[in-house]
Symmetry: C2
Subunit: 259 residues, 2 copies
Amino acid sequence: MRHAVFPAGARVRPRLCLAVATACGDDQPGLSDAAAASIELLHCASLVHDDLPCFDAADTRRGLPTVHCAYGERLAVLAGDALIVLAFETLARACPAVPARLPALMSTVGRAVGAPGGIAAGQAWECETSVDLALYHRAKTGALFVAAAEAGALAAGGDPAAWRTLGARLGEAYQVADDIRDVAASALEIGKPVGRDAVLGRPNAATELGLPAAIGHFRRLVAAGIAAIPDCARRELLRELMQREADRLIPREIARLAA
Amino acid sequence: MRHAVFPAGARVRPRLCLAVATACGDDQPGLSDAAAASIELLHCASLVHDDLPCFDAADTRRGLPTVHCAYGERLAVLAGDALIVLAFETLARACPAVPARLPALMSTVGRAVGAPGGIAAGQAWECETSVDLALYHRAKTGALFVAAAEAGALAAGGDPAAWRTLGARLGEAYQVADDIRDVAASALEIGKPVGRDAVLGRPNAATELGLPAAIGHFRRLVAAGIAAIPDCARRELLRELMQREADRLIPREIARLAA
């Protein structure tokens, strides 16, 4: 379980969750921390199962052997399971002072990772012969970004609906950035094998649109997300933060290459 | 997911949960139903992953093809994941009227299925060369029985500690009954391949003690559990119910055979 969670990846989703919680006043930092942690634990769990021999059969992740390569397939299945459980335990342990916020938080996080619209459902599209691409991306990647933004608001007693569009657009942008890196970046740079989409016969926005157009698409999605940030404390600062976070997703050399 | 949950097995754990909730007054039947359902969903999830080719490689379960035999390994991994998530979503959706009961319920249920002492940890012992048998059984089987009893009490606003011993002894008894059936019952009768423990090189109480002594051990464990039932409404009725439930675990022909 530790191997699946450390060393850290970009921690994009929990950072989004905490940024939204801060914008909503973050009156229960223990609860927003737990929400952010639970979302990252669920993300890590999905990576462990995604890497399994029956799915992507990936040997490396974040520059290290994947969990099943390091510890065997059985412990990788179990580590993923236990990380899902730990995510909900983490939520349950946080802030018994405000249990009234827990049901909505759990539902929001659960919806993003289960069936019929969360990560498990998204990954299940990979088992179909004909794929609804929009549904696939929304479930496999988008849902957890939406949940990260909504959970940040919920943990701080804010209105989750107001933050939904930010999460959705950043999720789409993240997916496009992942496609761009899959096509363009060197294996060393992102720490996992590249060109996997082509090998696995998966759709890829950068292949479909070409690199420059894909980067343009990515930037428009980020801009749309940032434009959707509702009125909140230090709104300008949050916009800058979101832009900086987004800029990290595409390595400079790739952006230069495409320009 | 449906294939993993229906048709029903014995539903032993949720029945225990609901019996304890009833004994504790069951003032929130929506919540005790959700607790019982979440426990059964988690049990079903563990069976799906347990049956996978990398673990038991079981072809049949409850007289039907296992999930991975019917739908493939990838969907079996995902169905298990989504069932875990659904269990917690089910808890979250139940009774927003009493959110204060939710954190303890989630912690109790989560502890029983995750690491370091729940089902995932128990199954992980199967990957070790040297096994602590007591820890293995307690984590793999006992923990969810304890959680079923405790969750029934928690859902009804009762004291979980008072019901712990009942759950623990019934869990041990269930494990012994499973060992007995593994050795003695025909494949048809319990709907899964038998003699698996011997094939998989696993310890089995009926093999170690012999059938008559194992049945005696089973009965003493059930009696100890029933003796530990605390003062509650209709205590005698509950004792009889628990005895009847236990009697169902060992088919009559086996009991006769051993006698």
